[in-house]
Amino acid sequence: MSRSKAARPLSRTDLETRELDGEYFLYDPVTDRVVLINRSAAVILALCDGTRLEDEIAAEVQRLYGSKTERLDEDVWATLAQFTAQGLIGAAQLTAQLEPDE
């Protein structure tokens, strides 16, 4: 399924988080699965609050890390795609449908 950058990803609120040495475990109480993410991915997930477009999340990540590269944008979108595949950002697809085409 293709992803629209017009989506406003929203992370699930029922995930439990544990931190260990700068890495984060996300515990999904529905599936009993655990996903391990690094600090950068945790920052991206934290920005998925349903108010930012994917482009805005990428821009915010670039601002936080003080660099602007196409590669970083691609990393952010790839991470968001993984979050969607893992079921960590539930509303992204729905929001995408509601956004007008750019």
Binding site: R18, F25, P29, D32, L36
Partner: protein, 307 residues
């Protein structure tokens, strides 16, 4: 010995199995290290009672087996086995114990101990848990289990699990084990063997000092690498049998274990080299620990012999 029933103590569960088939009861006994108590004593206090009916079917060489359990103590029903009936029922009993053990966190894991300290070896099927368990026992470790690595949640002790060993036929020769001649001791491509029959010793409990996650890879050199705690957590979590019961508390337990205990991943093809490497790492880990009885230390007087 009663040939119509047998009882087994596994973790904190007492199981009584009854059958009109003495052959089946004998077969089942071979699947466990020892019996718990006289069946007459177990009858009143058993946590699970299972009745097994064995009968011949016309035109079939193998007996048909039906298992029922008392309704209030549910055992997943298996209505028919045509081969290895004792081992199949034993596996069901082990699964029931693991699922119902409320005081233990259980890994799909080999488990050995020496000097009161334990090694947990969680791994997938065919990773070599049983082989390494036996190979380490041949180097002087005591066996807790080759399959069920149980840790008491309160206190964190590794606890022995009295199922017999299941050693794959292709490694029996390499381990120097004589192929057992008793019938009914072979199931799922493995020999079912009691530790005592192999001259190996068992332990009842130990404090976990080392976690090794083995992977067998044909022709791979033996390599034991320290795992960062987060990676160890994920590997331990995948080897867990207890998650359906423990949920988030289970993740917390695994994180606690992985941060307290050194965790290594092992790739190997030679079981003896692998056992040697694990043994060496275990010695290093134990040597780095602060002696538990440090409080008893005192400075000896000049010339006083060391106790």
């Amino acid at each position: 010995m009663n040939d119509s029933c047998a009882s087994f103590q596994l973790l904190d569960r007492l199981i009584l199995v009854e059958s009109g088939s003495p052959g089946f009861i004998a077969d089942l006994r071979r699947c466990f290290e020892e019996e718990a108590a006289q069946p007459s004593q177990a009858a009143g206090s058993a946590d699970l009672k299972v009745r097994v009916a064995v009968f011949a079917e016309a035109g079939k060489a193998q007996p048909r087996v039906e298992v029922t359990s008392t309704p209030e103590k549910a055992l997943r029903m298996r209505t028919a086995f045509t081969a290895s009936a004792g081992w199949s029922v034993a596996r069901e009993l082990v699964q029931w114990v693991v699922d119902s053990a409320s005081s233990y966190y259980v890994f799909h894991s080999g488990s050995v101990a020496r000097g009161g300290r334990g090694i947990l070896m969680p791994g997938a099927t065919h990773s070599g848990k049983s082989t390494l368990t036996v190979a380490l026992a041949q180097r002087g470790f005591d066996i807790l289990s080759d399959e069920v690595g149980a840790i008491r949640v309160e206190g964190g002790m590794q606890i022995g699990f009295g199922r017999a060993l299941s050693v794959r036929s292709e490694v029996v020769g390499e381990l120097g084990i004589e192929e057992p001649s008793e019938s009914g001791c072979f199931a799922d491509g493995a020999y079912i063997l009691r530790a005592g029959a192999l001259g190996l010793s068992r332990a009842s409990s130990a404090r976990t000092a080392l976690v090794v996650l083995p992977t067998y890879q044909g022709r791979a050199p033996t390599e034991l690498r320290a795992l960062r705690p987060a990676a160890a957590v994920m590997a331990l979590y995948q080897a867990s049998c207890s998650q359906p019961r423990w949920k988030l508390a289970g993740l917390d337990f695994v994180i606690d274990l992985a941060t307290r205990v050194p965790c290594f991943e092992l790739t190997y093809s030679d079981m003896h080299e692998a056992a040697r490497a694990i043994d060496g790492t275990f010695r290093d880990v134990c040597a780095r620990e602060i002696p538990l009885e440090l409080g008893r230390a005192r400075v000896l007087e000049q010339g006083e012999p060391s106790p």
